[in-house]
């Protein structure tokens, strides 16, 4: 499979994407996040109307590549330099007062997806980074000196800088 073809496919996905609550009728809907559902408002083939449910597609969630661009930026931004030391022990999330309130904010996980460069995951979770309250408990708890608080600062800057690519599909 050539990269160009893939690109074409991706572009298509974007074009057909529509807003609003999608795929209500999918039984196990809660396991499928919006960005994966393509539900065309207007789709017709040979005079047959295939809009809405009849034309719905669900994109696969397979992680297809590592894209370390954001990771490199985070490393260069103030206080982001130690992200590379993280070994995913989860101490930060364990002590994080925000994570206890908001499951979508998980410092350990954010660091992982940025480190590995799972763009699709970053797309889904990057907004959560701004929930960090900067209390610094994580940096105190981290056994490897990652300084997650600082990394969150660097990340929120990096995510803003890459806003364009990170927009929902």
């Amino acid at each position: 499979m050539t990269g160009k073809e893939q690109e074409k496919g991706k572009k298509k996905d974007k074009e057909i994407q529509t807003e609003g609550e999608k795929g209500k009728f999918i039984i196990e809907r809660r396991y499928v996040d919006d960005s994966r559902i393509i539900e065309p408002e207007k789709l017709e083939l040979g005079g047959v109307d295939m809009s809405g449910r009849w034309g719905t597609l669900v994109l696969p969630r397979t992680l297809e590549d590592f894209d370390t661009e954001i990771y490199e930026d985070v490393k260069d931004l103030p206080r982001g330099g130690n992200i590379g030391k993280c070994w995913q022990c989860g101490n930060c999330t364990a002590v994080c007062p925000v994570a206890h309130e908001h499951p979508e904010f998980n410092p350990r996980y954010l660091i992982h997806i940025v480190k590995m460069g799972y763009t699709s995951e970053i797309k889904r979770h990057h907004k959560a980074v701004y929930l960090c309250s900067g209390c610094g408990l994580c940096s105190a708890a981290c056994p490897k000196g990652v300084d997650p608080q600082g990394v969150m600062i660097a990340m929120s800057i990096a995510f803003k800088a890459h806003e364009g690519e990170l927009k929902e599909l």
Partner: protein, 353 residues
Amino acid sequence: MKEQGRPVLVIGGGPAGLQAAKDIAEFGEQVVLVERRKELGGAPIRWSYHTLAPDFRPTEEVMGPLVEFCEKNDNVTVMKGCVVEECNGRPGEFRVRIKDESAKEFTEMVVSSIIVATGFEHFDARVDPRYGYGRLPNVIGINELEVMLKQRRVVGHDGRPPKRVAFIFCVGSRDRSTNPWCCTVCCGVSIKQGIEIKQLLPDTQVYMIYMDIRTMGLWEKMYWDSMEKYGINFIRGRVGEVYFTGERLLVKGEDTLVRGPFEVLFDMVVLAVGIEPGPGTKQAANVLKLSLNEYGFLAPRLPNVHFDSGKEGIFLAGACVAPMSVEEALSEGSAAAMQAVKFRRNIVKKVPV
């Protein structure tokens, strides 16, 4: 033959065996060192390991002196390409029959005690077909990568250096369908090799796909350095299938931290193949009537006292007892040597001449 003249028989010319022979010889005792293969040095030399974890010391630097000593020293009789075929008699005077496999000659001798150090074999990754080892190009074992690193030339089958390398841990280890035990060293060795690849090809991305990282004791430093100094990435999960697309290797697995499947292209896949008991161990066990444990390693009388075979006058050392690193094997050799010498001296006291 007088008691004093009776040598100690060491089976196996690997790290443990050589160390044992050296120590006994330095006690001024006679040693007979029997090695099945044509050269001394055991696994590190046979598979031509480039360096040894954790301190990246060249293998020759560790094994060279030992081999040289045993070759030169008068107290040590080295018998290469030989196997012990028969053993009877009682502790203190075992009558052994040693067969030279090439020349088909037999040597008979009486030995006071025996040290078994028959070592291990690398797991044959073809037995676990999901990684396509032996079928797909650029799927290699850590032992083959050592050879490449020694030649300072890490390349794929097309002769080009890989841009992205994946190490798959626990191949033929911790798996009911192959070997259920942990080989204890492959995490460390893989990480060591990852670092060496980074030193050799700084632009190559290295990914470690692991279940657990078991870099015991001070080996942990390698693990930390690999991450912090060399930027090696670690993916927690397992690989289900490796598929060759015609150009690159498509590795299908799961990143358990993301709870999601990944299908990523790599240029080279290195399998951290496990350690399993070799034919030499089995043969020695038959000849000396030693008991094997459920996994086929030699079973010591007490699990925490490796050198004690449970049979008077026979001592165990090295990876024939359990998977272990070279550093452990060396000290086990030493320990067994001490036991053998102690045993001999006691006999001399008991039997006045």
